[in-house]
Each structure stands twice: as C-alpha cells, then as structure tokens.
Symmetry: none
Subunit: 401 residues, 2 copies
C-alpha cells in the first residue's frame, strides 16, 4: 500500500508526464460462462496495441470482496489507502452536485422522510417524492436561519438533499439522525467529541425548525441527516508527489474528489472529445492528468452490456489523440467494476495496463479481464499504481544508499 | 488481510450459503520433478469440472516460508490473521482430545519427563513412554487437589497430557516450565502480568504435588507444563459476518477450533459419507458450512502418496452430492500442505478454487497445484478467502458512497 511518507521523501521534480485514464466501472463480467466481458467484447484495436506494449495485471480497489463506492475507488487510484482515508458521505454528496465546499464547511446528506402523528418515521424516503418536489422543499428549508453560521440547502435527486453549514468553530464527529428503520423517531445529532457539541446544537436547532417548515408537506414532512462531515484534509498530491495535477471529468463527484486530493479541476465539456480537447489545451501545464470517463459506469448500472461496449469503443477511438500528446507513463483502468450483469458496482478486480518506455512487455496483447489475469503486474492494489507510475516516470529517488 | 472491523461494518444478512470444503493438508509435492502432486495424480472429474467454472489460485496460510500447525491454518481460513490471533498450545491440545473447555478454563499441555537424583531433566519426553503408561500416570495425577479450583488431567498420547484448571480468578499470561534442554531442572511457572500471580502459585503447587506423586515412576518421574492458556476469546464469526455457521468435522481438534470461532459443531460420523449426510440434514439451518476432511493430512503425514490420492478421489466422488444442495459460494482448499514426500506439514501454498455465479472464469480446467498457479485469483492469503466469499455471496454492503 502506498506509503505517503516514503513518497514525500523520495519524490523528485521532473518534466515527465503521467496520464491516469479511468474508465469508471470498466471491470465487467461475461453474460454467459464462455462469453466475453464488456471490455473483451469491445473492438479496441488501440487499447489492445497499447496493452501489447504495456505491462498488465489485475488491481484491487479496496480489499478482496469489498465493493467500493466512487469515493474510495478514486481515493485508492490517487494513492490513498481507502481504509485509512475516508471521505464522509455528506462531503461526497456535496461534491457530487458541484457544490463549492470550503475546507471548514460541515456537509450532511439529507433525506426527506414521512412522519406519523407521533413523529415516528413511516417511510425513510418520503415515498421517493419527485425531484421537483424535493427542490421546492429545499427552497423552503433555505429560509431557516442559524445564529452565527451560514446555511446552504441544495436538492440532489428525489428525496435527497445536501445541507451545508459554514462559519467559525464548526466540527465534525457527529452522529446521524436516521434510525435506519421505520416506527422510530429521527434521532438527535450527538457529538462524538466535546468540541463538536456546539455544532450538534446548531444542527438540532436546524432540524427542529425544519420540522416546523415541513409540517404540512406529507409525505415529506420530516427529514434525516446522514454522513455529517468535513473535507477530510487529505495529504495533497502536489505536496506528496511533487506533481502538478490536472483533473478532467464531466461529472461533479469526480471533479470534487480530485479537488480534495489537491488537483486542479480543468473546465471541460460533456463529451469524450471535449475532454480530449481540454487535455490538449492544458498538456503543457501539468505533470499528472486524471482523465475520467463516466459513461462506462452509467451503462453498467443500467445493465446495458452493449451500451457499455460502445462507450469503451468510443474511448478506444479517442486513444490515438491522447497518446499523440506524448505522455511518459499511461495507466488505464477503472475505479471499480460495474458489470452490466449486476447493474451495480461490484467487488471484482479491475484490469489495468501500465505503459511507459521501460516496461517489460508480458505477452498480453488484448486489454481485457482474462488476458490481464495473466499479465506481468500480477495482482496489484489501486493505491500502488501511482507510486509505480512515479517510478516509471523517473520521479522517485533511490531509497537508501 | 481480512479486516474484521470492516467486515462487521459491511456484513449484511442474506439467504445465500457459503461452503468451505477443507481437505486437510491437501497441498502436495511431486515425487519426481516431472511427476504429479497427489492432487494432480488423483482422478478428480468433479473437482476439475468445478475448477473449470471457478476462479482458481494459490493461497498462503500464514506467511511465505511458514509451516502452519492446524490451529493457525484453520484460524486463517476462518478469516483471522493467524499472527494476530493465536490460540495457546494448551487450548489446542485440550480441543484436540475433545475436552469441553470452558471460556475461563486454564489449559496446559503437559509432558512427562525423566529427572535425575538432582532433579535435572535427563529426557524431556520420558523415553516416549507408551500411551497406556501415560494414561495410568494421569489417573494418579487426578488425585491432586488445589484450593478453590477444579482440576482435570487427561492423557493425550505417549508422554503428553492436558492439565485444565477451572474456577474463578484464573488468568493466563504465564511462562512455561520446560527449559528446552536436558541437564536443567524444570522451571517454575512465572506470571507475566500481576493478575496471573495467583494462577502461577496454584500451578506451582500442582507441580510440587505431581513431583511427589510421580517420584517412583522413572522414566516418567517428572513433568513440564507448556502453552498455558485460555480460550483466546476470538471475535465470533456470527457477530462479525452475520453468518450462522455449522461445522462438520470428524476429529475433535477441528471441531474445537470451529467452536472457538463461534461455529456450531454438528454431530457427525466417521466417514465422508456421514459428513455429507450431516450436511444434508442441516442444510437449511446455516449460512456457512465448514466441511473438514481429515484423512488427506493423515496419509500425507504417513508419507503415503497413493493413500492421499485415494482420499482425494473419495472426496471427489462425494462432491456431486454436496453441490446438489445448491450452495451459492464454494471454496475448496486445505489448511496447509502436507506433502507425502515430506511426511509432515509444509510451508507450500495451497491450491484454491472459488465457485460462485459471478466469477470470471480463468481458463483453469484442472484442480491441481500447477494449474492453479495460473489461476485468476493469483496468490491470495487464506484470511482473505472468507471476505471474498462474502462478496460473492452478496453479503457485503458497498464501502463508502
């Protein structure tokens, strides 16, 4: 597992460039035992040609058997042990809607819920109210004022919203209010450490006001707060690795996680071509690029095998333009698997290829799960990929005399 | 390595069933450089067919180069880091003879030894006295009484016996009496922590009495106590993994270790057919089954290559009946290797196969050491197998948002 102190000690400046190409959820499964996975089914002449000049393997995002959320999957790709460095759900939710979270903000994920006459929860998701209703209720909740702090209430989707508190003296280390079952009332926010007590008091005050504001809004006449958290203050990649980092992603969540890691988020458009264009424009400005493709995951979540194949083929078509920029090290993998067969993230390892001038080719000539199982990288952990890239980029000094 | 806190956090209830089939000591060695191992020599059409639909690999029980005893080998298969969770030798010895050890009992392995006129040890194993002599001497030792505690003395084999103290206020953290060389006297039991001092005093009192009782019994006119320990209070698998666990094993030692891990031990007979019948009877009652085959290890210890091959073929013949029960996840491996060529446990990795609905097949079509070296699981650790099975069984929630 990446040792950040060691990286900090050994990292040296250079002019080499590392490109991390992440196809979100790219790992897949065959639909029949003898069939190909999405990646194997895709016609990917460019990825295959790159694999043939690369060292390949299989990579574990978190640990055997563990299905990662997008947060841990990316933190691990960025070289953080995802079990050591966690980003709270409230923070991820705020990042996911592109909220400009500040380092001292407290962010919570909010869920509208249904309460009965005794204040007991009858539906933890408020009957999955339409997104428009959630947005209207957030408008109402925005009017709640708290002494000495600014509040932000932002709709996410259906019954979900984000609450952010901004001000001095706010601390995380707070319990959630969701009792995780119906027939119980929402719980108060409790501080898990003494300095968080005033923040708990503010949140409970906000919740009491919210209860009044929502009183007539059944089925969304109550709400819960979950994953109340701050920016975790991750060691910053530019400090640890001496890399100027640019992040190119079309979705807010991934831009947000990249920002937490110390990357600069580069404005881009909606398409893969837009992203490639952004990469070209900023090629001279950074040492490390995080290049994120979202739709492999989306099609996997949809259970759309062929759609996922198409996205992969689309990426393959863009690869020559990317490689023409002349990166020194290229890593291609995903943050986690999202097999169309499962319509969800999964625990399966990810195929990975690492290309650089001085790799030892391993005989793998196709970028796919089964070929990569026989690759020269063997079985590796996501968090080891960045240190490995640093080595291949000539950016790590010798350890010891 | 399995992270029990993470498992506790993510484990979810379900109806899926996991079967862990352990062929004790199954890992082997070829008798000639080009020859097959025991597993490769065995005709195993059913295991091979299962391997073809599974993901296979090689698994390390403890650490590279380490030859495990039965305790660590199984603890690791049960998801415990065997270097972190140790079961004392006294406890394992008590479990091995089927002694009904209670959580607060203190158990020690006893060795009869020979003493000269000065009380110095001349033979640490008392000339390997016959088992019947050991049993008769245990009868005599049973008469020793200690204030406030009950004592049990049980013969094991030849010069070995088990001493158990039962009562209030007993603590482990005690030194052994065996100086590990001849020409020295047995050492007193010393407490390694203050609260163990009264227990040390009781044991020293027992040893003084034993010396008198055995005075005329040369060559077994003395004894040593080793591995003085309590049930280590392992985190219980049902609590950590939310699995109701049934253990099926024909030998006391394995039933005992399973019990320490929180499994329910199911009464069974002496044969593999008896064990399969027990599995069938209890199939509805548990989520996880530990199914133990002893004789692969026994024949390995005997140096009986063909005998071990026969046991493996016998297990292969029983496999269809086992699979017909419809497990959701099947793992087949051993606790350690016991190559007939070595007539002992060894440090070699174990072949392992994992079958479940959503595995990525890896092209391995035979269950054997050499085929599994090329398997898609690569090189894994025993303690990661249960978390992996949990993932494949759909029993782990997503980690992080």
């Amino acid at each position: 597992m990446a040792n950040l102190n060691l990286m900090r000690e050994l990292a040296i400046d250079g002019t080499s460039k590392i490109l991390l190409l992440v196809m979100d959820g790219v790992g897949g499964l065959p639909l029949t035992p003898d069939g190909p996975t999405e990646l194997e089914a895709a016609r990917t002449p460019n990825l295959d040609a790159l694999a043939a000049r690369s060292i390949c393997g299989m990579s574990t995002p978190v640990a055997p058997g563990i299905t990662p959320g997008s947060g841990p999957g990316h933190l691990s790709l960025f070289g953080y042990d995802p079990l050591e460095y966690e980003v709270g759900r409230g923070v991820l939710e705020a990042l996911g809607i592109g909220f400009d979270l500040q380092p001292d903000d407290i962010a919570a994920r909010g869920n509208f819920c249904s309460l009965d006459g005794q204040g007991l929860i009858t539906d933890r998701r408020a009957g999955r109210i339409p997104t428009e209703v959630g947005a209207r209720l957030c408008e109402k909740l925005r009017k709640i004022e708290l002494p000495g702090v600014e509040t932000f209430v932002e709709p996410v989707k259906e019954y979900r919203f984000v609450l952010v508190l901004r001000g001095d003296g706010l601390y995380d280390g707070l319990t959630e209010t969701d009792p995780q079952q119906t027939g119980k009332p929402p719980l108060p926010v409790e501080p898990l450490r003494p300095e968080a007590a005033p923040t708990a008091k503010l949140l409970n005050q906000w919740l009491a006001e919210a209860r009044k504001v929502l009183a007539d809004e059944h089925p969304a006449n109550g709400c819960n707060l979950r994953g109340i958290a701050k920016d975790p203050g991750l060691p910053q990649i530019p400090d640890v690795y001496k890399l100027r980092c640019g992040a190119i992603a079309t979705y807010p969540m991934y831009r947000g996680v990249a920002k937490l890691a110390g990357m600069e988020v580069l404005p881009t458009g909606e398409t893969i071509e837009d992203e490639v264009e952004t990469l070209k424009q900023h090629w001279a400005d950074y040492d490390f690029f995080f290049f994120h493709i979202k739709k492999t995951d989306s099609r996997g979540e949809d259970g759309d095998f062929d759609g996922k194949v198409s996205v992969i083929e689309h990426v393959d078509g863009a690869l020559p333009d990317i490689l023409a920029l002349g990166p020194d090290v290229v890593i291609v993998t995903g943050d986690h698997s999202t097999p169309a067969a499962l319509k969800s993230h999964s625990w399966h390892e990810l195929p990975v290829l690492l290309w650089a001038k001085y790799v030892r080719p391993d005989g793998v000539t196709q970028f796919g799960e089964r070929p990569c199982m026989a690759g020269g990288l063997g079985h590796i952990h996501h968090a080891d990929l960045l240190p490995l890239a640093m080595g291949y980029a000539g950016r790590l000094a010798k350890f010891g005399a």
